[in-house]
Amino acid sequence: MFDELRDLYQEVILDHGKNPRNRHAPPDANRQAIGKNPVCGDAFIIYLTVDDQAVVRDVGFKGEGCAISTASASMMTEIVKGKTVDQIARLFTAFHALATGETDEVPSEGIGPDDVDRLHALAGVRQFPVRVKCATLAWHTLQAAMDGKQSVSTE
């Protein structure tokens, strides 16, 4: 019945939506931010452990949301771990452009083919404008945490 929705709900999304990875606060986290989508009530807290070389050593999240926003948060934590704050910011900018349909180019700088595939899957939201914020909420929150902000709202 929902064949045309397979672009949005790909297996990897359903998997991370059901079994999110890194759903915890790392004990040595030194930055955190809360991100809210006031339209739907989704809220995520992103926790980061950033070392003095600006490398994200650990990352986790807490919160509740739809399959898309949960999968996005989960996959994001796996993708950004071990990368520098600057690398992550560039990756987010490139992913945001893909998810909003500004570009068709899937970001690949500094990430492996598996992560490229994951970002590609997440970018399925571009066909569903009302769901774009679900895929980007965790990323906006991560960016806020990296920038030293306490909270961010997608509205």
Partner: protein, 420 residues
């Protein structure tokens, strides 16, 4: 107002309720979305419009449009007559005593803000208490919080039980010497629960406390009689009653409206203006500053003609049957929990599924052609009460059918298949 106190407007019963003929009155219901027939189950957010309303509004713009209450020309008189005739239709619809008691607003939200602002600032003082319920729409929460900021009133919240029933005894216990206003929904937009409005008014009036009822979800599902209810204010919106958006109604008892200062200043609401002093117009114009939503009011009049022509009691019976059927059908789906099982309900069905977030449910059933609301329904404190961030809400109107509910149930099974 209980079911039993409703006198049937039509003796013929539901058997001649011709839903196919009724659907033919609503042009939008014949359209498709994603190549499937539209199944419109978002009536609690806004209802679709029958041809009779659409044509009345078009005809007014094509033949009779002018500003109202000013100008001595022919069309001004025609437009004023049509606008005031709509007010009379509203008066009769809720059985108000006089047209002076019917104020046109933009929507129910503005009607509540009018009361909070005018009555609230004139008559409520620091420490005075306003009682609302746990299942109010934000429109009946935020205006009182703004009044709290402005004058220091205290907001009290009457609780509900886990099924969504209004707890009358607990409500009554909140009424005290400092209670100066009760403002409660007549039917919850998120749960469908009907509140015991008559008893609420009785209990409050026994303590000389005025009562506002938010009837936005009630007037569309059942006959409402403000004289029988005895309430001081009753508000509702036009667009949920199959009328245009941009028009709402504040009913207020004349004695209380007379004592209230104007809400907004401008044209229309004055008798005479000089730079030294202004004399305000009589009711209802005192509360209708500026050019009103003229065509929208006339469209609302046509919508009222439409629903009263069908008979509110017959609509209520049809919708009760739909609600019972839908509740049964969706309850068969494993992992689905209905939120709100009050004893008396308007035809609103809120639910959550264990396998999928309401937004995912919404996206999936949308592809099956089903328009339903997923979210917090502008009732976040209520969502918190039930420990959910959001629900999916199917709300049924006078034109919905059991076949449409079957499509909803089938789509929900598809959700389970994909996420289960």
């Amino acid at each position: 107002m209980s079911q039993s106190s409703m006198a049937p407007l039509h003796a013929s019963g539901i058997n001649d309720y011709d839903v196919a003929a009724i659907r033919a009155d609503f042009p939008i219901l014949s359209r498709q979305v994603y190549g499937r027939p539209l199944v419109y189950l978002d009536n609690a957010a806004s209802a679709q419009k029958p041809r009779q309303v659409i044509d009345t509004v078009s005809r007014f713009y094509e033949h009779d449009y002018s500003n109202v209450h000013r100008g001595l020309h022919y069309l001004s008189g025609v437009a004023t007559d049509a606008y005031e005739a709509a007010r009379e239709k509203v008066r009769a619809f809720v059985n108000a005593g006089s047209e002076r008691e019917v104020i046109f607003t933009r929507n129910a939200t503005e009607a509540i803000n009018l009361v909070a602002s005018s009555y609230g600032r004139a008559f409520l003082k620091e420490g005075d208490e306003v009682v609302v319920s746990a299942m109010e729409h934000h429109a009946n929460i935020v205006p009182w919080q703004m009044l709290r900021e402005a004058v220091g009133i205290v907001l009290k919240v009457a609780p509900i039980d886990d099924a969504g029933n209004f707890l009358f005894e607990e409500f009554e216990a909140l009424l005290g010497p400092r209670t100066k206003l009760v403002s409660i929904t007549h039917a919850s937009n998120a749960l469908g629960s009907i509140t015991p409005a008559g008893r609420i008014v009785e209990a409050a009036h026994a303590r000389d406390i005025p009562v506002l009822l938010d009837g936005s979800q009630a007037v569309v599902h059942r006959p409402v009689d403000v004289a029988a209810l005895g309430c001081d204010f009753y508000v509702f919106t036009g667009h949920k009653l199959y009328g245009p958006s941009g028009i709402g109604v504040l009913y207020g008892r004349e004695a209380i409206l007379d004592r209230m200062p104007p809400y907004q200043g401008g044209g229309e609401m004055i008798r005479s203006v000089s730079f030294d002093r202004t004399e305000f117009a009589e009711l209802p114009n005192k509360f209708e500053a500026g050019t009103p939503p003229i065509a929208q009011a006339i469209g609302l009049g046509a919508a009222i003609d439409y629903v009263t022509g069908l008979g509110l009691d017959r609509i209520a019976a049809h919708e009760a049957e739909l609600l019972a059927y839908a509740t049964e059908r969706v309850s068969e789906i494993p992992g689905l929990t209905v939120i709100g099982r009050a004893e008396e309900k308007a035809s609103i069905l809120s639910f959550v599924m264990d396998v999928a977030h309401p937004h995912d449910v919404g996206t999936l059933i949308d592809r099956a052609g089903v328009a339903a609301r997923a979210g917090h329904h502008c009732a976040q404190p209520l969502m918190e009460r039930f420990g959910v961030a959001a629900t999916t809400r199917a709300s049924f109107g006078l034109y919905n059918t059991k076949a449409e509910i079957d499509i909803l149930a089938e789509a929900l099974r598809g959700v389970r298949e994909m996420f289960g």
